[in-house]
């Protein structure tokens, strides 16, 4: 692929010969990129003068697929976007679909979705911080982080049968109700996780090597963060006091008592601290949600013609059978308005939004995903300029770029 000039307003044009600089290729198959992305770095000695991201290696046409799969089928594809927090994508997608249809899900479903979304946030932050630690040389921390992550996957397995790509939500509800076993696992996690978190904080928060490697590296100011559309923990680490869970409460987030974690440093260390603190807040939310879990159905009434009736009803009653056919037959399905909605949730990485255009059928006419990783990776050249080569991995890790979401 030919490389033209830099894709930002830098002083240096790539096509000009710069004899004292040398170009280094980083990725797409490098262990420290964690995912498939490529950087072309311009180095002066060990100092990074310029960086040019080159993405698209994992582009698989998810948005085009969204126009050909129906609203329930597409949830499987959203799993593959940010695969560190699959359930959060499921929740985001189906919230957007329900907003288009004008449906509100029952309280039990809202609480369960909050629980899984917060579990996904904890898993995502664990992976991200573990990766930052690993790249900065703290391998033990990585092990400490992956242990509770395993427990989260066990909970998700108990909830929906899949560990990694969950596809847990459906239009107007969930795939399954939570079993008592799953609730017990969540309670156990809430009991045990604070201790693991304490251990992790003791291990790294004041670790001299880690602090030296991350403090003052990749500083993002508040104005820059807003101008570049940054959201989520990265924006909050730069002092943007914004969290969609508080600002535009969706699901049942109004019911819970939790804080928004912010920092003013804007560097890799601040981003690490914000993520650590957010995990505690997520745990608070999960604790409140699981102890106050309402009873009742997890899916909306079958009369709305978006969810399938129970199997005994389908096989035992004529009404159940008719309702079943009303949903699954290709020319019946559910009807969407000829309208467009944008709906966003606070995903672990930032604002994850879906812009859906409904055309009357059960397939989206356009399923645009607003991926936080895409917006955040555009920051990278701005953050890395002037730092050293070894800081590349620290900055890359702290941005938490998931290439599958980046390229879709």
């Amino acid at each position: 692929m030919p490389l033209y000039r830099a894709d930002f307003a830098g002083n240096l044009a790539h096509d000009e010969p710069q004899e004292y600089l040398w170009t280094m290729n980083f990725g797409p198959q490098h262990p420290a990129t964690h995912t498939t992305l490529r950087l072309v770095l311009k180095l002066e000695g060990e100092r990074v003068v310029d960086a040019m991201p080159d993405i698209g290696y994992l582009h698989s046409g998810f948005e085009k697929l969204g126009e050909h799969l129906n609203y329930n089928q597409y949830v499987v594809v959203t799993d593959r976007m940010n695969y560190c927090s699959c359930v959060a994508n499921n929740v985001a997608w189906h919230l957007a679909v329900e907003k288009l249809l004008g449906i509100e899900v029952p309280p039990r479903c809202q609480y369960l979705r909050v629980i899984v979304a917060e579990l996904a946030r904890i898993a995502d932050h664990l992976v991200c911080n573990a990766a930052v630690g690993l790249d900065a040389g703290a391998f033990t921390f990585f092990m400490y982080a992956f242990n509770p992550r395993e427990q989260i996957y066990e909970i998700l397995e108990a909830l929906c049968g899949a560990r990694f790509t969950n596809s847990y939500t459906r239009v107007g509800g969930l795939m399954y109700d939570a079993s008592p076993k799953a609730i017990e696992l969540i309670r156990e996690f809430v009991r045990k996780f604070p201790r693991a978190l304490d251990d992790m904080e003791r291990l790294l928060n004041r670790n001299r090597i880690f602090v030296d490697r991350t403090k003052g590296i990749g500083v993002l100011t508040k104005e820059e963060a807003i101008n570049r559309g940054v959201t989520g923990p990265i924006a909050r680490a730069s002092g943007v006091t914004r969290d969609l869970r508080k600002d535009e409460p969706y699901l049942a987030y109004r019911d819970f008592d939790f804080d928004i974690c912010c920092a003013t440093g804007g560097d890799c260390y601040a981003r690490y601290l914000v993520r650590m603190a957010e995990m505690r807040e997520s745990l608070k939310i999960i604790h409140q949600a699981v102890e106050n879990l309402p009873s009742g159905p997890v899916s909306v009434d079958v009369g709305l013609r978006v969810t399938l009736p129970e199997k005994p009803q389908v096989f035992g009653t004529i009404e159940g059978l008719i309702q079943h056919f009303e949903v699954i037959m290709w020319n019946r399905g559910f009807r969407t308005p000829l309208e467009e909605v944008y709906s966003a949730i606070e995903a672990p990485n930032g604002e994850l939004g879906f812009y859906i255009v409904g055309d009357g059928s059960d397939r989206a006419y356009r399923a645009r995903c607003r991926p936080p990783s895409f917006i955040h990776f555009a920051l990278f050249p701005h953050l890395i300029r002037g730092h050293r080569l070894s800081d590349v991995v620290a900055v890359l890790g702290s941005l938490n770029i998931i290439a599958a979401e980046l390229d879709r």
């Binding site: 467009e340 939004g353 645009r368 895409f374």
Partner: protein
């Protein structure tokens, strides 16, 4: 205190205003996109550009009268939390709009993605080239006349031998 829509109406000729599920949307003429967004950023406090995307209305049951491609600018004010969606339409023979990169740096990659997927040119963009697809790709795959399985690009990839590489 006038609402954003009222202030916009006073200063520009809006083609349409609408609201759906609490989301406010305005349609502006294609040539006026930059002025409207500049006004919204500098006078109405919309300091964050959340998303730039596009919809191809080629086969849509209710086609908008202004053109085939509908651009979507998704704005947010981080102070008040207000959101506004600005739409602009263009056609395949006049597929270009002014770039808003001078206003928001966030538009840089988002506009490149729209160019890549829909083939809409952004006039004044500092570096408008493909972002997700290879440079030598010829089509714009999110257009509705592009088939789901492609036009055979994947089956006709050039084979590079070790000697050539």
């Amino acid at each position: 205190m006038l609402s954003t829509i009222q202030r916009l109406r006073e200063n520009f000729a809006l083609l349409e205003e609408s609201q759906f599920r609490g989301q406010k949307r305005v349609v502006v003429p294609r040539e006026k996109v930059f002025e409207v967004l500049k006004f919204l950023k500098e006078s109405c406090g919309f300091d964050m550009l959340v998303d730039v995307t596009c919809v191809d209305y080629l086969t849509y049951p209710r086609r908008p009268p202004w053109g085939r491609f509908g651009l979507v600018y998704n704005l947010l004010s981080t102070e008040t939390g207000e959101r506004l969606i600005v739409r602009a339409y263009c056609d395949v023979d006049s597929a270009s709009v002014p770039s808003v990169v001078p206003l928001w740096e966030a538009a840089n990659w988002l506009e490149r993605e729209v160019w890549d997927m829909f083939g809409i040119r952004f006039e004044g963009h500092p570096d408008l080239r493909r972002i997700l697809l290879p440079e030598d790709f010829e089509d714009h795959p999110l257009r509705k006349d592009y088939p789901l399985q492609g036009k055979g690009e994947r089956h006709n990839l050039p084979v590079i031998t070790r000697a050539e590489g």
